[in-house]
Amino acid sequence: MDSESDIVQCKDYVILKRGNHIILHQLTKKLSIQFLGSSIDLSNIIGLPYSSMFRIEMVRKNSYMLERCNPDEIPTGLSAGNTEFGTDNRNIQDDNNAQALSKEEIIDMKNKGLSSQDIVTQLINNSKTFTHKTEFAQEKWLRKKSKKYSDYLQVLKPNIRLLSEVLMCNTASPNNFKLLGLRMDTLSQIITFVNFQPQGKYIVYENSCEGLICASLLNLTDCRGKLLNVITPNYSFNKRKALVAMKFPEEKHQSVININLSTFAKYANSGNTVSNSVICNDSKSLENIGDSEATSSISSCGEKECNSEVVEVSSSLSTSGNITSTNNENHDLKRKAESEESECKRTSYQERENEEVRQLLDNKADGLIVVCKEKPNDFVKEMIQFVAPSRSFVVFSQFQAPLIQLFQDLKQRQDVINIRLVENWLRSYQVLSDRTHPEINMLATGGYLLTGIIVTNN
């Protein structure tokens, strides 16, 4: 019944879920992880189908292993047993004396390998106030405990929804957004705003989203679709983590073409031809793209106005501080072209792909997606020329200010219509009978989106 991709295999990225904690982990030879303060041996999950449930069993103090379990044995929550309950909290004092067990005693129970239900029963028996709490307050307390002390763990196969959840949450410092604060509702709208079609050809630039944007788009791409992934020389593993975690089939990766930012700059400035530029297929030669590759400088042969903008793009995009001086542009460019020539052995395959990219750029793309930490304005204004008429672009920023500016600038142009700047509001609900209300905490922002449609005026 299970296809091979539904079975947990070594080297897979897996999502581990325990209570309401969720982490992304790559299975390596060393099959143990630290999860909520305990060391868990994962060897028993290999070879089993994804979504399997496991009971966390103690081997010795602080060391646990996983035992596959029947989903029916998993209690839906912890139970208080048949205790009485109070009507309100008028007799409950918040004096920290309610629990007779000390912290050490509780930890000791944990170290002895008692189940969370046993621990909770002990906690209840030693609590002076538990029976005075209302039924609802008791339930809430139990819910909190069961989230904290879950004895069960589920292994899930990474998908875009789970990756966006797991990559976004930063439990270590909640105020420090990961993924640029790109919330799932915003991510979902990037895809609809750009009218993402499985067989379309899209240009995408992402930075600081761990490859999630590219992975989301590739997940929605059919074998006839293409993603032109704009990369900068420091395109490291961290920028494609989600792409790897998704474990797409090999043929899927054929849909991604990585193109250096400099290629676009050259194409834009040199009368629209792709030449001597480094283009490579995602799966084939990513290893070749390292920090060793020089930051590309900008050709000086374009129009003045155009040129200065591109230089700015280059400098704002370079995070490594490896910015080539623009004074010696011609010289640098020549040297670089030579080194590129020697560095990259051009096969006929690559030339064919060069040709393919040239055609793609000549025929223009079906959309442009920009999600980055940089100020995207100059880049977007340049890249619009690569988007076909009646197709859309969408730009995400964590900040509103640059998008306000971009809105104003694009408004002046004749070739962009229907410019919109939006922000979303998302909240989740606790749904329980008689106790339904919004969750106490919510993410206050999910970032800003600017979108528009390209038109022709002839």
């Binding site: 499985p198 700047l421 022709t456």
Partner: protein, 314 residues
């Protein structure tokens, strides 16, 4: 044509979007004749504030081109599901793009997915579902309203969605999805007055390998009943969300400067400074509906001893 797939030039039979301004868009079918109120065939002419547009003259034009009319110009655009949602004829309350986006995302849909939708309504969501699962997937859409089904069917055909969308007249709550839908679905979506009644049918329709569930309901009572039912039928990761979108106007304003210098200077001489800011709308929809999502695990991890006794609505 062309809600799934993209092309660059307009052909006869295409649906196009006439763009006048962000708040004035119209969807048109490109054909030479249309029927008037008295069912007589007349030339297909579309009236705009800038003058009349002979719709047939659009054939051969590039999508995204500017069309000159006697008193101004308009743009003719490639249709998208989002613009269709903005322009479609309402036969029911519809689901809008922010909710649609979240539904597509939370249902884990991708090319090749099979999704069941009930009810079809005005087909706003159906278009977006079709675009996502195209070309190998399928949308099975159900509605109990005979006329809505037949109108939707024609519309999907005109829009080129027929290869990926099948519409059927059926009361899913009462009759389920039918034998042929057992174990076919990767995802199930409900937009029904009594969604909890369809939950047991959804369980049958979702593949043995598991799948995702979504329900859109305007009222919290519907949500509560649905969540109780989901818990009783082996669903996990039950999550209810609400999403609203705020659209800003970018404006430039000149504000008088208040400072110590401006004292006694109110008449005429006060300094002004210009600001550029993004202004949220004065009013906006404050509620569309609650979206409830859940996962039905694969068979091997699905609880079988279900607490059916407590699964009924409270």
């Amino acid at each position: 044509m062309s809600f799934v797939g993209l092309k660059s030039r307009i052909e006869a039979g295409d649906t196009v979007i006439i763009y006048i301004n962000p708040h004035r868009m119209h969807a048109l079918e490109v054909k030479s004749k249309r029927l008037n109120k008295n069912s007589e065939e007349i030339d297909n002419v579309f009236q705009t504030q800038f003058g009349a547009l002979n719709v047939e003259s659009l054939i051969g034009r590039e999508f995204g081109s500017k069309i000159l009319l006697p008193k101004g110009w308009i743009y003719v655009l490639h249709p998208t599901c989002e613009m269709w949602t903005q322009t479609l004829p309402h036969r029911t309350q519809i689901i809008y793009t922010p909710d649609i986006s979240l539904i597509l995302f939370q249902l884990d849909l991708k090319p090749g997915s099979v999704v069941l939708e009930a009810g079809t309504g005005s087909g706003s969501l159906t278009h977006a579902l079709a675009r996502t699962v195209y070309p190998d997937g399928h949308v099975h859409s159900f509605d109990f309203h005979e006329n809505r089904v037949s109108v939707a069917e024609i519309e999907f055909k005109t829009h080129g969605l027929s290869p990926v969308v099948t519409v059927r007249q059926r009361d899913v709550c009462r009759d389920g999805y039918g034998e042929s839908m057992n174990d076919v679905a990767d995802a199930v979506f409900l937009d029904l007055p009594l969604p909890w009644e369809a939950v047991p049918h959804a369980v049958k329709a979702i593949k043995k390998n598991g799948g995702r569930f979504a329900s859109f309901s305007p009222c919290i009572e519907q949500v509560q009943k649905t969540c109780t039912m989901l818990r009783g039928h082996g669903f996990g990761d039950i999550n209810t969300l609400e999403c609203l979108q705020r659209e800003f106007s970018v404006i430039q304003r000149s504000l008088p400067v208040l400072s110590f210098d401006s004292v006694g200077n109110e008449e005429g001489g006060q300094k002004h400074e210009s600001i550029i800011t993004a202004l949220p709308p004065l009013t906006m929809p404050g509620h569309t509906g609650y979206l409830t999502f859940a996962t039905l695990p694969p068979m091997h991890s699905r609880p079988l001893i279900l607490n059916i006794g407590n699964s009924g609505p409270d």
